[in-house]
């Protein structure tokens, strides 16, 4: 009985500690001038990785903030350093748009800039 209780307690504690600290890499594919998925939910510390399957160069640009060039057939990452909702677009093809909702991590101020 006791070993079982310790097991569950340990499992719950492990789960509580592990989840917030675990940074993920979220992939956004670019195909035929479309970001997919166009809207994603992420958290501070995660990385967005754009995978460009087009023969055209694209960018993921946030006005007044980051600007990432993703060459044709290449992959480019951005580390998310602050919480908030950001809209991004491609500078070369402004009809390509995406949105990232970035949640703060508990214990993090979320004030860092990219």
């Amino acid at each position: 009985m006791l070993p079982g209780r310790y097991f569950w307690t340990a499992l719950v504690m492990f789960g509580m500690n592990a989840v917030p600290a675990h940074a993920e890499t979220i992939r956004v594919t670019i195909d035929k001038l479309v970001f997919s998925p166009a809207e994603i939910n992420a958290k501070v510390g995660d990385t967005i990785e754009w995978v460009n399957q087009d023969v055209l160069a694209h960018t993921a640009t946030v006005r007044g903030d980051w600007d990432v060039t993703i060459p044709a057939g290449a992959t480019a990452p951005v580390d998310l350093k602050k919480a908030g909702s950001v809209e991004y677009y491609c500078r070369y093809h402004p009809n390509m748009k995406g949105r990232i909702a970035i949640a703060p991590v508990s214990g993090s101020s979320g004030g860092g800039r990219h």
């Binding site: 001038l33 023969v55 055209l56 500078r91 070369y92 093809h93 402004p94």
Partner: protein
């Protein structure tokens, strides 16, 4: 006879309302391939003129993007017509488009500095708008082959993106 009549009507329409006049005869797939490819070539020619004439960084970036994109997409188009065993066929619409572009090039060649930049960007907005209209109302609906239609639909998104890009850069010259 019917073909000649259609060609005559198309030619009249071309005289009256630019390369993509409404009511022009429905183009065949080889003609559509030629028109779409030619539109890309003409914009690359315009971009090369801009790269040799302009001193403005935004204009140069835009022109380089036009050259890069249209060359890449036209390579895809050539690969597709080869795969489909389609030989692009020159036609009145393509010829009218080429003539309009050549006239514009000659006009732009006389300008310099900000006057050139402004006129080049205004023409890029107008050119992409015209091709977008043709893709939407004539070329995509007329295309028979599904792969050709698919490439034209991607081409439409690309041209719409270029039109917006040109409008953004042009806004700085107002």
């Amino acid at each position: 006879m019917l073909a000649r009549l259609s060609a005559a009507i198309a030619a009249l329409c071309l005289l009256g309302g630019g390369a993509f006049a409404q009511g022009a005869a429905k183009p065949s797939d080889p003609q559509i391939a030629h028109i779409a490819y030619n539109a890309g070539v003409l914009d690359v020619t315009a971009a090369k003129q801009a790269i040799s004439k302009s001193k403005n960084k935004e204009v140069l970036d835009f022109a380089q993007a036009m050259q890069r994109d249209h060359e890449a997409v036209n390579k895809q188009a050539l690969d597709l017509v080869k795969k489909l065993n389609v030989t692009p066929e020159d036609n009145d619409t393509s010829r009218a488009l080429s003539k309009e572009a050549a006239d514009k090039q000659a006009e732009l060649a006389k300008l310099n500095g900000p006057a050139y930049d402004k006129a080049y960007l205004a023409n890029e907005v107008a050119f992409h708008k015209k091709v977008n209209g043709a893709l939407e109302t004539l070329l995509i609906p007329s295309a028979n082959n599904a792969e050709l239609k698919g490439l034209l639909q991607t081409g439409l998104k690309l041209f719409q993106g270029h039109q917006q890009h040109a409008e953004h850069v042009a806004a700085a010259f107002k």
